[in-house]
């Protein structure tokens, strides 16, 4: 099989794994955002909450994602109480375990980014809102969260790119997303470089599109940062 045929055939096979890659990425990123905001809120709420979140972030940021995936997929199944629970139909499947582990992981990193965004809100803006009589809810809804979002977006965009790449680890627990298929093709044909180029291209395109989307969102949210044309 000549080069071009091989590569186009490989591309076709790899694109078959794209749906799973995208599902893993989109679901874990969205659930991760929700988790990140909840954790950031919990951290500010009480002493116990602060300790829990700090411990959670410490463990999840200090250990490899692969270990976290294995822990959820293989480790939890060791206990009878888990196997007999109502969650077992989900926890025995690699797809759900991967989503769970990916979400927990990005939730930890995300909560630090959200925390940074919240801390960056100028105290003066908050005071002006309070002195105008805004209730706590209105203050957060109209002032704190919009400003925090604008500060957190660049860092969160970065985190999203990392998550898209992290979906590749799901291949190690048998999920046939793009990297999983790539590994299978390489193992069969030993044409590592060609397969790498094809699979790499897919991820590069994904990340390029994602980065552009984030940059566009940043521009749209920040008209006040655009240069003024005198």
């Amino acid at each position: 099989m000549n080069e071009l045929d091989f590569m186009s055939d490989t591309m076709r096979q790899l694109l078959g794994g794209l749906p799973i890659t995208l599902q893993l990425a989109v679901i874990s990123i969205s659930c991760g955002i929700v988790l990140a905001v909840l954790l950031a809120a919990l951290r500010r709420s009480c002493r116990l909450g602060e300790w829990f979140v700090r411990g959670y972030v410490f463990v999840l940021r200090g250990s490899p994602l692969l270990l976290q995936i294995f822990f959820v997929y293989y480790g939890l199944g060791q206990f009878a109480v888990v196997r007999e629970s109502v969650l077992w139909p989900f926890l025995r499947q690699p797809w759900w375990c991967a989503i769970l582990a990916l979400t927990f992981n990005t939730g930890a990193y995300g909560s630090e980014i959200v925390r940074g965004g919240l801390n960056a809100v100028p105290p003066g803006a908050i005071e002006a809102a309070r002195v105008a009589g805004m209730s706590r809810l209105t203050l957060y809804r109209r002032i704190v969260l919009p400003i925090a979002l604008r500060y957190a977006l660049p860092a969160y965009g970065n985190e999203m790119v990392i998550m898209v790449k992290s979906t590749s680890l799901a291949s190690i627990v048998t999920l046939m997303e793009v990297t999983g298929i790539a590994a299978a093709i390489i193992a069969e044909t030993y044409r590592a470089l060609e397969v790498f180029l094809c699979a790499g291209a897919i991820y590069l395109v994904l990340n390029f599109l994602l980065t552009r989307a984030i940059a566009g969102l940043e521009r749209w949210l920040n008209p006040h940062l655009r240069r003024v044309h005198a």
Binding site: V131, A132, M134, L221, H224
Partner: protein, 257 residues
């Protein structure tokens, strides 16, 4: 008449840690009065002003706005507002202008001005926008209604901040050193706006270092020293012929600029 009194504080004590900043302040502002609060740095003048909308909660003493006393409750180490809704309602009836403007940078000038009337006072948007544009016209910022604060000079930002306070239809306006953060050439345009408001007969409390301006527009002046009111009276007396030596020295030092 009690309705005549816009703002009153009685027996105000405020501590920050071990430092006692206000040591018993009594002050009443009647409707239409323009009260200039002057004093050296650290005398407590900003703290006094900030106690009125409860940005600082005094450990002792009473704050009343239009005759309504703010309910405070002792809890933990200090006092807290007993009724959050009352505090927010009273705050919405005042207009506060900060030294550092504190405009919301992610909103345009117009959006800054209409934000509180729409979302706190729950007034209908079209009515608020119309009024806001008139106010912006008055402070000379009509052509900047769609500009963002980051693109404005300090003087423009402060005028926008004043417009924001005015849009609340406040009972009284509180100015916390409105020109102290401005370059000297921009001070004038802000003082012009404040002078106009005085001419309208608004009730105002102004903490300021601009002695000449204070002497010109105020109906009553209060000299604070070390957390207490050292001297109080008509501007003709306070600024030209103070009774106490400290006040005399202070005014002399600042007026000769």
């Amino acid at each position: 008449m009690d309705e005549d009194i816009a703002v009153s504080v009685r027996g105000l004590h405020k501590r920050f840690g071990r430092l006692e900043v206000l040591k018993g302040i009594d002050l009443t502002a009647r409707t239409g009065e323009v009260i200039a609060i002057i004093g050296a740095s650290g005398s407590g003048k900003s703290t006094l002003l900030r106690c009125i909308p409860l940005l600082e909660v005094p450990e002792e003493g009473e704050v009343a706005i239009a005759g309504e006393v703010v309910a405070l409750r002792r809890r933990g180490g200090g006092r807290h507002p007993a009724d959050v809704h009352q505090v927010n309602r009273l705050r919405a009836s005042l207009g506060f202008v900060f030294q550092n403007f504190n405009l919301w940078h992610h909103m345009t000038v117009l959006q800054n001005v209409i934000e509180a009337p729409v979302h706190v006072q729950k007034r209908p948007r079209p009515e608020v926008v119309a009024e806001a544009e008139a106010i912006l016209e008055k402070v000379g910022m009509a052509d900047k209604r769609d500009a963002y604060p980051a693109h404005l000079s300090g003087g423009q930002q402060q005028r926008a901040a004043i417009a924001r306070a005015l849009a609340m239809r406040p009972r009284a306006l509180l100015f916390d050193e409105p020109t102290s953060a401005l370059d000297p050439e921009l001070v004038g345009e802000v003082l012009l706006v404040i002078r106009d408001l005085v001419r309208e007969g608004r009730t105002m409390l102004i903490v300021t270092h601009e002695m000449a301006f204070a002497a010109e527009v105020s109906t009553r002046a209060v000299f604070l020293h070390d957390g207490r009111i050292e001297e109080e009276g008509p501007p003709t007396r306070i600024f030209r012929d103070p009774a106490t030596e400290r006040c005399r020295q202070f005014v002399q030092r600042h007026l000769s600029r």
